[in-house]
Symmetry: C2
Subunit: 191 residues, 2 copies
DNA sequence: TGTTATCTTGACCGAATGGTCCAAAATCCC
DNA sequence: GGGATTTTGGACCATTCGGTCAAGATAACA
């Protein structure tokens, strides 16, 4: 009953995430957010309670659609080539001038002082690590990765690599260099 | 001639860097900065011109004393064990609750919109890559790393790993896991 | 059509922000 | 000791900040 919302929540959260990615949490003003989302302050506050609430909602939505804007999650049919492709996508997406990953920004800027944010980034990275682990086990099944390697360790290694590429790409390292590094890593764990 | 400064610039920049690491650029208020540095606004502005000028100066000082607070730079006598030790130090420093690296924060929050910051982080990471490359070449000389591997690629790989550990450590991944991942990577490139 | 309930818009608010300025203080050089 | 010169500390300023609120708009239900 009553007047229905005129906006699509997911679209709004995407727009808000874009602002937070470009300016960080503290650097994003309410005006930036109302402009990008097309909502007035009242609507924003009615729906999310506060700037912080909006940030958390944007973070949740961002995490739920896959960290770097990449939808990929690995399943038991994954091969080492799939892992490589995923890393290449991150390398490209991180060095093409687009704003940096919301998760990285949240970790650097807020995780230390903001428990709800810390919990979310921890959970999201745990999920990514689990996904990588599925891929590593699948690659071991296929004989692409030595069977005696610890899959949880290799998964952490791949996740570390992915996040490092994200930072370096935004710091000016070229996509080619990142891809070469990723290839070297994939080749090394296949040995 | 004239009244001498009462503060040590390096000490002030260290304190400012601490504030920026904890709160980011936009999230750090002038009050935070005057409190942490012990200087009044007049002194801060007289010496650095603006909040942004102070940030750049803090970034320069931070970079010049070695990225993560670690002084290490590799020379031709470096071994693979030295590289491993360095990575372990980063893993520990990133997962012990201390605020995140100023470079990572600067990259995520400002590099995309702030050319002077972008230039500085790019230069700093280039320097770190060069240092890693020296270490890789030295390890190749020692026969610890295959001679046919491309040292610039392995250097990028190690740098990527280091930055990734930094992010993940602050996101809640334990030091033990990061060390295990680093060990796996070092073992893999030694193969 | 009237009631009820929600949503939207934007004017408005107190507080905090980055930045300016100046009088007092401190040192050097004569 | 007396300029000259620079630093210091904090009062002060205009602006912007995140957030509130009231009045109108819109729809469901009776």
């Amino acid at each position: 009953m009553a007047r229905p919302r005129e906006f699509d929540e997911d679209t709004v959260l995407r727009a808000a995430a874009g602002v937070f990615r470009r300016h960080g949490y503290a650097g994003a003003s309410l005006e930036d957010l109302t402009e990008a989302t097309g909502l007035g302050k009242g609507s924003l506050y009615g729906a999310f309670g506060s700037k912080h609430g909006l940030y958390l909602a944007a973070l949740d939505a961002y995490a739920s659609r896959g960290a770097t804007g990449l939808e990929r999650t690995f399943d038991a049919s994954a091969s080492l080539a799939d892992v490589r492709d995923y890393l290449v996508e991150i390398a490209v997406a991180s060095s093409d001038g687009s704003p940096s990953c919301l998760l990285t920004g949240a970790t650097a800027e807020r995780a230390g002082n903001d428990e709800p944010v810390a919990r979310r980034v921890a959970d999201t990275f745990a999920g990514l690590a689990a996904s990588f682990q599925v891929a590593v086990r699948a690659a071991q099944e296929r004989g692409e990765v030595p069977a005696d390697a610890a899959p949880e360790v290799l998964a952490d290694l791949l996740l570390t690599l992915a996040r490092g590429m994200e930072v370096l790409g935004h710091a000016g390292v070229t996509g080619e260099r990142l891809v070469a590094a990723a290839d070297a890593a994939v080749a090394a764990i296949a040995a």
